[in-house]
C-alpha cells in the first residue's frame, strides 16, 4: 500500500470532517465539544472550549452574531427542526463560568508588531500575536479601549466583562497606549519599526484613515487583509451593514497571521482555505433523530443553567459513522474507517514489532454493507482484501488466520469432492447444476433432490458440477490459489461442453461474474421460479427473510427468492437490514474462520434485532445464523420438506436444525460425491485408503469441542491410523486409552481414544492441536 493509496482511502471517509456549525463558524469553535460539556453540566469545561479558540471569550461569547446557528444540522429545512441556539448557549456559558485556561508563557519571538485601534478586531490581533510571544504595541486612538464595543448596553456587554479580558491581554507582551494621535506619518514610522501593522477599523477615530493612507477598504484582501501596501493590514471597516463581532474577530485573526507570515517572509496566501467559514464534507444522518424545537428562554436576557443544559442536549453531536452503526465488526475496533485505514497502512509497513491490526484485517466479512451506506462508498472489505494480499506477498499472513478454510478448499477441489458429469440419462448438458461447497457439505440430500428436480423440469439435459468457486482463496488473499481454482473450474465447464450454470450459492454467482464472465450463470431461485413445485413442497408460518450478503446487488435473485417463498405458502417479513442493505451471516470474507468470536457477535446482532424464525436461501447463511440457537430454515427445506433432518415434532419449527460442524461438512461432500458418481453415473469407487475405513465414535460434547477446534474427522482418522501402523503411541493401562500425535503438515494433532471392543470403531475422548513444532526431548 502506497502512501498515496492511504491518502485516497482517508479522503473517502469524512468522519473527521468538522460538523456544519464548526465549519460555518469563522473561527471554528468546537461547538460539538462545547455543547457536550454543557449538556453534561460541565460549564467550566465548556468555557475552556470557547477560550481555546476565542479571543476575549468573555466578550465575544456574549455578543457573537452566531452564523453557526443557521448552518446547524438541525436547522436543515429538509429534515431538521430548529438549529441549536449556539449564540445563547455561549452567552450563558461565559456568564455562568469564568474558567479560562491560563495561557502558558511562550518564548519571545524575534520580531514586533503594531496594532492600531481599540475595537474588537484590534484587540483580537493583539491577543493572537501576544499569545504567541510577539511583542505588540497596541495603539488606541481613543481615550477608552473598546471601539464599537463601547456602544453595547451594559445589560448585553457589561464594562466589567471587557475589563476582565483586558487584564488577560495585559498579562501578555502587549503594551497599550491610549489617546494616540494616528496619521499617515505615524503609520509610516510604525511600518519602519515593526514587522507589520494592523489597523482595526472598528474604532470610530479610524473611520477615515484609509483616505489618508490611500487604500480602498472595499479592496482589502479577503484572506490576508492586506491593504496592498507591504506590511500594512486592515479589517473590520464600519459600513452600511450592522457591526458583526465575529467578522471583526476573523479580520483581526487573519491579519495577525499575515503579520507573522510577513515577518517570516513566507507566502501570505498559501494554504489558508480553511480560515473563515468553509464547506464541510461531513455527512450526518437525521434518520434516528427525534425532532424537538429549541428550548424556550423564560427570561429573554438569557438561558438559566438548566435551560442551557437542555438546549445543549439537543445537539446531536454530528458525525457520520453510518457504516459503524450497521457493522458490528467496524464498531468492535472503536473507531471508523479513516482511522482503520491508517492503522492498516501502519500494519503493512511494520518491519519489526507488533502488527497490531492483523486481527482487524483478517476479520472483515467483505460484505460491502459499509460501502452501501457510506456517502463516499468506502468499502472496508476491499481495503482489507488488499491488505490481506499484501500480507501474503510479504509472507506476513499469520498461518492460523485462514488455514482451515484453505485446507477445506484444497479438499473441495480434490478428486474426493469434485465431480463434473453430463445428464446421466441423456448424456446431454445444456445446463449444469452447481450446488456449491456449502450446500453439499451441509445437506447433501438436498443437493440430490434439487438435482433430480432440475433434471425433471429443464430441457436439454442437466449435468452436475461440484467444485469450489474459489471465493475462500480470494478472501484469504491467495491470488495464486484462486487462479488455480478458477482455471480448473473453467476446464471442467469446457469439458461439459460449456453448459449454462444453475448456481445455488450467490457467492459462487458473484465470484464467477468477476472471474469467469464468459460462463452464463443463473441463480437456482430464478431457474426454479417458473418451474412446477416438487411433490409435497410447501410450508406455513411467518419467517424473517435473510438475504445473503453476496446477493446485495442481485435484485433479481432476491425477488425470485421472495416469489418462491410466496409460492411455497410462507409469509415473509423483511429483516431490519434487507435487500441492498442486507447483513452478512458472519461467514463471508472468512470472518468465521479468522475470528469466530466476531462472527458470533454478528450472528447475535442479526438474530436479536429480528424476530425468529428465519428463512435463508444460502446454505452457509442458514448454518451460520443458527449457530446461536436461532431457528433458521433453508428455502430448499420448504421445497423438499420430506427430507428435513432430525425433525423435532415438539418444536414449532419442525424443519429447523442447527448447522453441522465443519468436520461433518467435509465428510458429507466426499460421501455425496461418491454416492452420486456411483448411483447416477455407475462410477466405481477407487479403493479406500486405510485411514478412511476407520469408524469414529464421538459423544456430542466431544464432537462440538472438536468442531470448535477445527479438527476434521479426517485428521483424527489419520492420527489413529498412523499410531496403529507404527505402534508409536502412549497408553494409559488403567483406562485402556491411547494418546497419539500426528503432524500431516503444519499442524500437530493429538487424539485420545480407545478401540471399541471387537472391530474397526474407535471411541474418541478428546482431540487437540498446536502449531509449535516438536523438536524432541533431551
Amino acid at each position: 500500500m502506497e502512501q498515496k493509496d492511504l491518502r485516497r482511502w482517508e479522503w473517502l471517509c469524512i468522519q473527521e470532517e468538522p460538523p456544519l456549525c464548526q465549519a460555518a463558524c469563522p473561527i471554528h469553535v468546537d461547538v460539538r465539544l462545547f455543547t457536550r460539556h454543557l449538556a453534561a453540566g460541565k460549564v467550566d469545561e465548556a468555557r475552556k472550549v470557547l477560550a481555546k479558540t476565542m479571543p476575549l471569550s468573555g466578550v465575544l461569547g456574549r455578543i457573537c452574531d452566531h452564523p453557526c446557528e443557521n448552518a446547524c444540522r438541525r436547522a436543515d429545512p429538509e429534515d431538521g427542526d430548529e438549529g441549536i441556539r449556539i449564540g445563547s448557549l455561549e452567552r450563558a456559558c461565559v456568564i455562568q463560568s469564568d474558567a479560562r485556561p491560563r495561557s502558558l508563557p511562550v518564548p519571545p519571538k524575534n520580531f514586533t508588531a503594531a496594532v492600531v485601534g481599540g475595537g474588537l478586531s484590534a484587540l483580537t490581533a493583539a491577543w493572537d500575536l501576544g499569545r504567541k510571544g510577539v511583542r505588540v504595541s497596541l495603539l488606541v486612538p481613543e481615550r477608552e479601549i473598546g471601539g464599537v464595543l463601547l456602544a453595547y448596553p451594559e445589560s448585553v456587554l457589561p464594562a466589567e466583562a471587557l475589563a476582565r479580558e483586558l487584564e488577560l491581554l495585559k498579562a501578555m507582551p502587549v503594551t497599550i497606549e491610549t489617546d494616540v494621535a494616528i496619521d499617515a506619518d505615524r503609520i509610516q514610522r510604525l511600518l519602519d519599526e515593526h514587522a507589520g501593522v494592523y489597523l482595526g477599523l472598528d474604532s470610530l477615530a479610524l473611520s477615515d484613515i484609509h483616505v489618508d493612507l490611500v487604500f480602498d477598504i472595499k479592496a482589502l484582501d479577503p484572506v490576508s487583509r492586506s491593504t496592498g501596501r507591504p506590511g500594512l493590514f486592515a479589517g473590520a471597516p464600519l459600513g452600511s451593514t450592522p457591526f458583526s463581532p465575529i467578522q471583526a474577530v476573523l479580520h483581526g485573526r487573519q491579519a495577525a497571521l499575515s503579520i507573522e507570515r510577513t515577518a517570516q517572509n513566507v507566502s501570505l496566501s498559501a494554504s489558508r482555505e480553511k480560515e473563515g467559514p468553509f464547506e464541510t464534507r461531513l455527512f450526518t444522518s437525521m434518520a434516528d433523530v427525534e425532532h424537538a424545537p429549541a428550548t424556550p428562554m423564560a427570561d429573554p436576557g438569557g438561558y438559566t443553567p438548566e435551560e442551557a443544559r437542555a438546549e445543549a442536549a439537543r445537539c446531536i453531536q454530528c458525525e457520520c459513522k453510518e457504516c459503524v452503526k450497521v457493522c458490528p465488526y467496524l464498531a468492535h475496533f472503536k473507531g471508523y474507517p479513516k482511522k482503520y485505514a491508517r492503522e492498516i497502512y501502519n500494519n503493512l509497513s511494520v518491519v519489526h514489532g507488533l502488527r497490531a491490526a492483523n486481527t482487524m484485517i483478517e476479520s472483515c466479512s467483505n460484505c460491502g454493507l459499509c460501502a452501501e451506506v457510506c456517502p463516499n462508498d468506502f468499502h472496508m472489505g476491499t481495503l482489507c482484501l488488499m491488505a490481506r494480499r499484501e500480507m501474503v506477498r510479504q509472507d506476513k499472513m499469520p498461518a492460523s488466520a485462514f488455514d482451515f478454510a484453505l485446507r477445506d478448499l484444497d479438499f473441495n477441489v480434490s478428486s474426493k469432492a469434485t465431480l463434473a458429469k453430463p445428464d446421466p440419462d441423456t448424456g446431454a448438458c445444456e445446463w449444469a447444476f452447481v450446488p456449491g461447497c456449502q450446500l453439499a457439505g451441509a445437506t447433501p440430500e438436498l443437493v440430490r433432490a434439487t438435482y433430480d428436480h432440475l433434471r425433471a423440469g429443464l430441457e436439454g439435459g442437466v449435468g452436475l458440477l461440484m467444485h469450489c468457486c474459489g471465493a475462500p482463496a480470494e478472501w484469504a488473499g491467495r491470488k495464486d490459489v484462486l487462479a488455480n481454482v478458477t482455471e480448473s473450474f473453467r476446464a471442467l465447464w469446457k469439458e461439459l461442453g460449456e453448459p449454462k450454470l444453475v448456481l445455488a450459492c450467490t457467492t459462487c454467482l458473484q465470484t464467477f461474474a468477476d472471474l469467469l464472465p464468459e460462463i452464463p450463470c443463473t441463480s437456482l431461485w430464478e431457474v426454479l421460479e417458473p418451474m412446477d413445485l416438487p411433490e409435497g413442497a410447501g410450508g406455513e408460518g411467518v419467517y424473517t427473510l435473510h438475504d445473503p450478503c453476496t446477493s446485495r446487488y442481485l435484485a433479481a435473485v432476491q425477488n425470485s427468492a421472495r416469489t418462491m417463498a410466496g409460492r411455497l405458502g410462507v409469509t415473509l417479513r423483511d429483516a431490519d437490514l434487507t435487500g441492498v442493505n442486507t447483513e452478512c451471516c458472519g461467514f463471508g470474507g472468512l470472518m468465521e474462520c479468522a475470528n469466530p468470536a466476531m462472527a458470533t457477535k454478528v450472528v447475535e446482532r442479526r438474530t436479536t434485532d429480528n424476530p425468529s424464525p428465519f428463512l435463508a436461501y444460502c446454505a452457509m447463511c442458514r448454518d451460520s445464523l443458527s449457530r446461536q440457537g436461532a431457528p433458521v430454515v433453508h428455502m430448499l427445506d420448504l421445497l423438499f420438506p420430506g427430507l428435513a433432518r432430525n425433525p423435532e415434532p415438539a418444536s414449532p419449527n419442525p424443519l429447523v436444525r442447527s448447522g453441522p460442524g465443519p468436520a461433518d461438512k467435509h465428510e458429507n461432500r466426499a460421501r455425496l460425491r461418491a454416492q452420486l458418481a456411483k448411483e447416477l453415473w455407475n462410477e466405481e469407487q477407487g479403493p479406500m485408503e486405510k485411514y478412511e475405513e476407520i469408524e469414529l465414535i464421538l459423544e456430542p460434547e466431544v464432537q462440538s469441542a472438536v468442531d470448535e477446534r477445527r479438527i476434521l474427522a479426517e485428521d483424527i482418522r489419520r492420527a489413529i491410523a498412523h499410531a496403529e501402523e507404527t505402534g508409536r503411541s502412549m497408553k494409559h493401562p488403567e483406562s485402556g486409552r491411547f494418546l497419539v500425535s500426528h503432524q500431516p503438515a503444519a499442524v500437530t494433532y493429538w487424539v485420545e481414544y480407545a478401540p471399541e471392543p471387537g472391530g474397526q470403531a474407535f471411541r474418541v475422548y478428546r482431540a487437540w492441536s498446536h502449531r509449535m513444532i516438536l523438536q524432541g526431548a533431551q
Binding site: 519489526h352 514489532g353 507488533l354 502488527r355 497490531a356 492483523n358 486481527t359 499469520p398 498461518a399 492460523s400 488466520a401 477446534r709 505402534g727 508409536r728 503411541s729 502412549m730 497408553k731 494409559h732 493401562p733 488403567e734 491411547f738 494418546l739 500425535s741 500437530t748 493429538w750 478428546r766 487437540w768 492441536s769 498446536h770 502449531r771 509449535m772 513444532i773 516438536l774 523438536q775 524432541g776 526431548a777 533431551q778
Partner: protein, 71 residues
C-alpha cells in the same frame, strides 16, 4: 525452561507403548517461527517421545503462537 507441574501431574499413569516405560517430567524443545522454547513435559525416558498436554496446547502454547504470528 518453563515448568507446568500441575498440568504434568494430570498425565501421571501414561506409559510409552513402544518402550513400556512410564513417562517422567523431562526437558523438551518446541519451535515456532524461528523461536525455540524449552518446556518441561512428560517424556519417555528411553526413546524421548513426549506429550504436549491439551491444557498447554490450547492455553499457553496457543497464546505464544498468536503473539509470534502477529510479529
Amino acid at each position: 525452561m518453563q515448568h507446568f507441574p500441575e498440568i504434568i501431574a494430570r498425565y501421571e499413569g501414561w506409559v510409552c507403548q513402544k518402550c513400556n516405560e512410564p513417562l517422567v517430567p523431562g526437558k523438551t524443545q518446541l519451535a515456532y517461527l524461528g523461536s525455540v522454547f524449552d518446556v518441561e513435559l512428560p517424556v519417555c525416558p528411553k526413546c524421548g517421545m513426549f506429550i504436549v498436554p491439551e491444557e498447554l496446547a490450547m492455553g499457553k502454547i496457543l497464546e505464544v503462537e498468536q503473539v509470534l504470528e502477529d510479529k
